[in-house]
Symmetry: C2
Subunit: 222 residues, 2 copies
């Protein structure tokens, strides 16, 4: 158990080049938790001000806006960071929901993490670059939403998930489908009905096939 945790952090790009004693140190301040499908991780309360990294499974990040609508902000996969990335404090109107059967994540109190990186400048720089990268990712996603029509956005969304999956010999990528049309709509900033009918359009165009459990995308068109 402990060794798997050590192994995970050692292989995380943030901590890859640390020596053993530093790795022990980061392991020491790390808390692990395994949760089940549908479980919610609130970023407030006992998790207030924590930086998380996902060790296993997948999550969706949800935000409640002022009108009380649930907005799906992001889908995260293994290795991704989330939570109080700015090392300031957590957003009280945000939480994560587990999509996979189980998910394991690791977290640090921002204060601990801050203290840690103050003595490991190379981690500080890596972390800064990581945040910068995440920033650009957000920027791209939003410019996608603003300047592309819904169909393009949907295809880009599929492309985005597909890049983390293997292509089958028949030229299709099979994506496990954790998400409802409502979720997808929220992610690409559209409506349930539009997503449903666009998915059917794509199906009739031969670009995708899908069931409730998976979506298969013809990789060549992406």
């Amino acid at each position: 158990m402990y060794s798997s945790q050590y192994w995970y952090l050692q292989n995380h790009s943030l901590f890859k080049h640390l020596n053993n004693s530093d790795l022990n140190e980061i392991c020491y301040i790390a808390a692990y938790k395994t949760v089940r499908k549908g479980d919610i991780i609130f970023f407030s309360e006992e998790n207030n001000g924590r930086v998380f990294t996902l060790k296993k499974g997948s999550l969706k990040i949800v935000k409640i806006d002022v009108e009380g609508n649930e907005i799906v902000k992001d889908i995260l996969k293994v290795g991704d960071l989330f939570g109080s990335l700015d090392l300031i404090e957590s957003n009280e109107d945000e939480y994560a929901i587990v999509l996979s059967d189980t998910a394991t994540f690791c977290s640090f109190k921002t204060a601990d993490f801050e203290k840690f990186i103050e003595n490991k400048p190379e981690v500080a720089v890596k972390y800064t670059k990581w945040i910068g990268f995440w920033f650009k990712r957000l920027e791209n996603r939003y410019s996608n939403i603003m300047f592309k029509d819904v169909k393009t956005r949907l295809l880009n969304f599929l492309k985005d998930i597909a890049k983390d999956h293997q292509t089958d010999p028949d030229g299709y990528v099979s994506l496990p489908n954790y998400l409802t049309h409502q979720d997808i709509a929220s992610l690409i900033c559209s409506t349930r009905q539009t997503v449903t009918s666009l998915l059917n359009t794509l199906k009739s165009e031969g670009i995708i096939t899908y069931s409730r459990k998976e979506i298969k995308v013809k990789i060549s068109v992406l």
Copy 2:
């Protein structure tokens, strides 16, 4: 001249608490430049991979998208950081245009800056927090664009500039108007015509008055 540069960095929130020798060090790697209205600062070529901070004046950040359209991404004011914030590399399709009569900025090569923060972890943490703050700002701007109608977006845009200006005794904030309707449209993700007619609607509603030189906004409605 040199003392003013020293003074600027000393008072920048990123470097505020550095001792004299560290301040000298950051001053040593800083390059200053003063440019005039309309001048363009490309982020590629000789400026490739630089982090900038604006010492005086105001700028707009413009991006050329794949279709060749100019998108106004941001308006920056004194103290703001821009350029290769992720410390990786600069965006070749982005540049800054000077809006004020003159602008002075200070810049560091990312490699120099990276080296600097490696030995000043507290600056690294501050920088990370700064990026985090900028992150939230981006998030807010885009959620504004995605979920509000154009009129609300326009008002929020005005509010956003207004908060950096003094309120007149008559309850109006006077904003110098560097921007064309086209620029505003681009910032709030709308069209020139829509902005023009909305501004006139707001004028007839008594919420704003404007000329080519300034916009006055009734602060109470914001």
